[in-house]
Amino acid sequence: MVQFKNICLLMLTLALVSLVFTGNACAKDRFNESIQEGDGYQINTIVIDVAEVFVSADSCVFIVYDEGNEIENKMISSDQTITFTAEGETIEVTLLSVSEGILPQATVSITITHDDDDVYLKQEVKGGHEKATYPGTPSLEITKEVSSYTVDQGEVVTIKVTARNKGDGKATEVRFSDPKPTGFILQEILLEETGQMTIDKYETRTIFLYKLQANEAGTFEFQPTRASYSNEADMDFPEAVSNIPVITVTDTGKNARKVAELEFSTSIESSSVKRNDEVEVVINIKNQGDSSANGVVLNIHLPEEVEYKGSNSNIEIINGMPKAYLETFGLNQEKEIKFVIKPTELGTYTITTDYSYQYEDGVSPDRQEVTGEFTTSTIDVARGDLDSVIEQPWYVIAIPLLIIVAIAGWIFHRSRQYRF
């Protein structure tokens, strides 16, 4: 029975301790300061002036200002407290004692109850609120303008993003993000302010200026441009968000189904080569359709007797097969993919490449996929210059080599003998 009581007591104690820690969502800052008459204490934009100290009466007059505006004026004796609310925080000022000096002074305890690390400035201010300075509050307003809200498919629109600091403090550590809309192709960037920057109060700055080509018909809601920023006291402010332009792109093809039509052609540096010679092969790709292609994949099938030697294009070897991958392939875009091969055996060869890509036809909800293959012209591989030597029995090569090595050795030996 006694044990049960002890267990209950222990559980109750643990519950109370956990309540103490979990329930303390609000933090408290406490400052103990001795402040001379006429001076004040600043917490963010709040200044608590010690206006008058009456040592004989063991009391003191406190006047509280928020950005210069008086919000509290009270005389209290020792151990009395003034409580007031500013910037959503509760501030308690307790007079601990008063004392004589060149100027009389008051020892006060100041307690702030707040949710976060909102106190970015706390300091004694000589001269009181009249001498206090405030970091200011920046406020960014982002405007995203488009040159036209209704365009034809294929037409180009200009996007301009400006930011204005309409607050009374400098915006620091400003970072912009501006996602590009779908259905448009970026044509040209005229201006792009990237990286961290500062914007002075009341300053207006152009951040982005670029051109987009309307690629697909429809109504497109642009994603807003966003900016994070702080003030000079490193206080973070809520993210600024631009307006959301909406552009309507009209279908000039009268709702015709669009197609991405990639045309592949190949050329070979020389159609007649010698064995072990290197040959450059070029694949030309052109989009002849009226829609851009995505995910273009080329798998180059080389015969066993042909080695892949390298490329200056984006060809990777995956599972022993050369492959090229193009993320997007726009309207009328052209591209050359070059690679070098080395035939190692005599014969006549062709190189077959299978391809696949996808596109949106503007009508169907799903992407369309195209696959196919194309083949190069033939490459005739003839005997190489050294073939007649290589085909000889080993001793036909080894014996002259040995003789040459022996002669070279002898000449070296003789040179050493006669070098002084």
Binding site: W410, I411, R414, R416, Q417, Y418, F420
Partner: protein, 368 residues
Amino acid sequence: MLNILIVGNGQCGNRILDAINKEAFGGKSKFAKFYSQQKYKSKVETIAINTAINDLKELSFTKAKDRIHIPHLHGVGANRTLGKSVFEDNKSHIMRNIEERGNFDVGFVITSASGGTGSSFTPPLIKEIKEKHDFPVYAVVVLPFREEGTLYLQNAAFCLKEIRDSGVDGIILADNQFLKQIGGNVQSAYNTINDMIARRILFLLDALDSEMMMVTDLGDFKTVMSGGAGLATIGFYEAEKGMNIKTTIQKALSPNGLLFSTDVYKEGSRAMVIIKGDKSYLSIDEISSEVEKLSSSVGHVFKGIIVRKGEAPQVLVVLTLEAAEELENLYSVAVDAIHQEREKKTRIEEQKEIDKAFSKIDGLEPNY
């Protein structure tokens, strides 16, 4: 097989030694050493000695191990007194190098009489060899052009005398003044003279160690070299197409064939005639008549015949001299040269008197 030592002293000696080594390869090509072997009949050891390292570096056919550099700046500058001092300082090193090569049956020391290292090293070197070994040593001495200057002439005079006094077994003379008749520029003349001397010495070495139809050997050579005044020269001629052996012998004894200007029939003391060639050329009657003609003037003539199939006749004559008029001429010129040098030295001494006169105002300043 004979063991033969050949030492080339100084720039001239080095170059003749290199020419002998080149000739031994049997080819004229500078690449002969890469594809050929030296064709010495005997076991021949060659050593090139010099104080000037650049002269040793110039050699192409003498092995590096056979080149001894005696470090002394870049030579002794034709100063024999300095040269002899340098030899004394390095004597043990040189002799050790010779002795490491074993025993010899005969030695030759080749040098210019007029230069620095060669003319000053050769007399004491021969003396050292003779004191420590009992094989005969012969000096092959090249005399200078008479217009080469007073220093070279006086060097030649003293060098030749010191070689004679060194205990040498004989001196074979080659005279640049006499050989300059071959013409060409200085460099090609020197090269041609070096090649001529080299070819004769190689022929001689070949003959001393060959099986002959009629034998001359090292003993005969010693006997020939011991005759006369200890001076000798060599005549050589290789027959041109269609030339008989009689004419070839006569050409070898003529000024065109000799290395030193002499009247063979007046100044000769003993001779050795070695004839080499295809037997079809070697008419005994012609050979005998020419040898008899020579022996009637000089006394004894050793005769050797080497039959070499298909080869044109070549004749080498080693001739010791009783007298050498040309050598007397050389010494007359050399004495004049010595006087000239002495006068020059006196003038320089007088110059020193002038220096004394100048030194009287040392430390004084002019007053105005």
